[in-house]
């Protein structure tokens, strides 16, 4: 049980070291550079895909390391995933209406 004198580490909590933070920080900077760079190359329909892929990667890094989800319980991981899932439902199913509105017209 908790005692005041106890250091919090002993709760089995993981402290992410500054080295990891710095590494992620660097990765984010690189990611930003790549997105900007990629946007200047004409890749046709792949441009937005790449931009989003990089953004998703960056966001995942932030969530996993800066926000400690990698070191958190299953419940926390599930929570994050369920948020992403509902978000995709909202976007995906709304768009399904827009995309299929023109169906049957050719």
């Amino acid at each position: 049980m908790s005692e005041i004198t106890e250091v919090p580490e002993s709760h089995g909590e993981h402290i992410v070291s500054p080295k990891v933070y710095a590494l992620i920080f660097l990765a984010l900077l690189v990611g930003t550079a790549i997105t900007v760079g990629a946007s200047y190359i004409d890749l046709g329909p792949w441009n937005p895909v790449i931009a989003l892929a990089i953004a998703v990667t960056k966001a995942t890094l932030v969530v996993l390391y800066f926000m400690h989800v990698k070191y958190s319980s299953k419940l926390m991981k599930l929570t994050v995933l369920s948020g992403v899932f509902t978000f995709l439902i909202l976007v995906g199913m709304s768009l399904s209406d827009y995309i299929s509105r023109a169906w049957g017209q050719w």
């Binding site: 419940l75 909202l90 199913m93 709304s94 399904s96 209406d97 995309i99 299929s100 509105r101 169906w103």
Partner: protein, 553 residues
Amino acid sequence: MSTLISLPDQSTARVPKKNYITNENGIMSWLLTGDHKRIAILYLISLTFFFFIGGAMAALIRLELLTPQSDLMASDTYNKVFTMHGIVMIFFFLVPSVPATLGNFLVPLMVGARDLAFPKINLLSWYLYMAGGCLALYAMITGGVDTGWTFTTPLSTHYVNTNVVTTGLAAFIAGFSSIFTGLNFIVTIHRMRAPGMTWFKMPLFLWANYAAAILMVLATPVVAIAIVLVALERTVGIGVFDPTKGGDPLLFQHLFWFYSHPAVYIMILPGMGVISEVISTFARKRVFGYSAVAFSSVAIAIFGFFVWAHHMFIMGVSNYAALVFSLLTMLVAVPSAIKIFNWTFTLYKGSITFETPMLYAFGFMGLFTIGGLTGVFLGVSGTDIHLTETYFIVAHFHFVMVGGMLMAFLSGIHFWWPKMTGRMYPEKISQLAAVVTFIGFNFTFFPQFLLGMLGMPRRYAAYPPEFQVLNVFSTAGASILGVGYLLPVLYLIWSLKYGQVAGDNPWQATGLEWQIQSPPLTENFTEIPVVTQDVYDYEWLERQKEHEVTHVG
């Protein structure tokens, strides 16, 4: 007829001196309380207030519809009245009804905790609710709003000049109140269960509230942003929903119903939780198919997210989208059917008594089944074309919301009243009220199905004369219904002072909350219980009683 109620010897019984009500005195001790039970009471009082505001609006609606002409009020007044009726009833009564009163009161008791995880946020949620409610009333007094509770664009953004922004803000704030309640429930149920209280030992009331809480947390923000965009469109003139600027008014419908369909399950699920507890107690039996009922709550919550466009079948969504959403609507109806049948079979080989909560629960089962099945009429895209935007819808949602949820709410209030106050209400009168409500309800809303079939549109201040007869029935029924709702208020208040002392467990129910004193202590449990018995374990309860008797004797 034999009853179940076992009250202590009234000549010696006392309501315990030390309890959460008497713990502290003074108005500030209530307004600044962190105690989930006191917050529940605050909610109960304010909800009742808003219910009667909404009810008064309903009375006006029904009076106006007594005659085909719009003679009691002009159509713009009528529009404001039903808009306010819808907004008050939905956002300020039904959405918070069971979760914020019974849920707040019972979730910690049932999981065996001393309070919800975040008492301050819980109190904040009540303040937000009150702020939203007062703002809505303010908007109503200073000119009202006439968009319908659905805020349909571009009507709400460009074509009315009533208090849309104020009312929207009110709904926005109330939404956050609901989010905080949901958040609190989820954390409490996940993290604060007493030792031994595994998921499958939880009462079904908790499962139902848990499922509803998921919806509150994940769906409410979407309507919040939709309302923000409407407000920006009205005030600043941005063009997201405005067709003249290239926006799509249907997009608002998508965002609005992404919340408001799950919201109907926010409204019904906690009520279903109540029904599970009540039926089990008065049948003295474990709920039939416990895990099926538990999982169907979660299934409703999850599938509830996939069906919102069934409110837009004729609004110009793509036919293919209509196909998919219609199919998914069929799927979401099934878990409700599972629940109904499981409750029915809980009665099988039970030992049934018919106290007031049970009567309301029976009312719920019948009326919700009708309401739910007519929901399927609307979910089938073909028949929806004929029935949509008519009184058939009005009847459908009053059957599920009033016949379903309101009945469940009253059932729950009667069931846990002795726990909340330590006193019993007069049983005979309350049974009468339950019956009156049931009869009045059917008189009010059943004719509306017929009106809808005949094509009478909703939100009409004036209607063709041939619809009058059924409307007169409906209005007559509403006055019976009004009496049915007034009665409980009267005798429940009466019982606070004159009711019989209830004792700890008047219904001999199994939940953790019944094993402590009523009304409970502020800290709920003097010692955090360790749960060893199964849920709805009536045999355990019997042994427990015997044990006590031998112990005392």
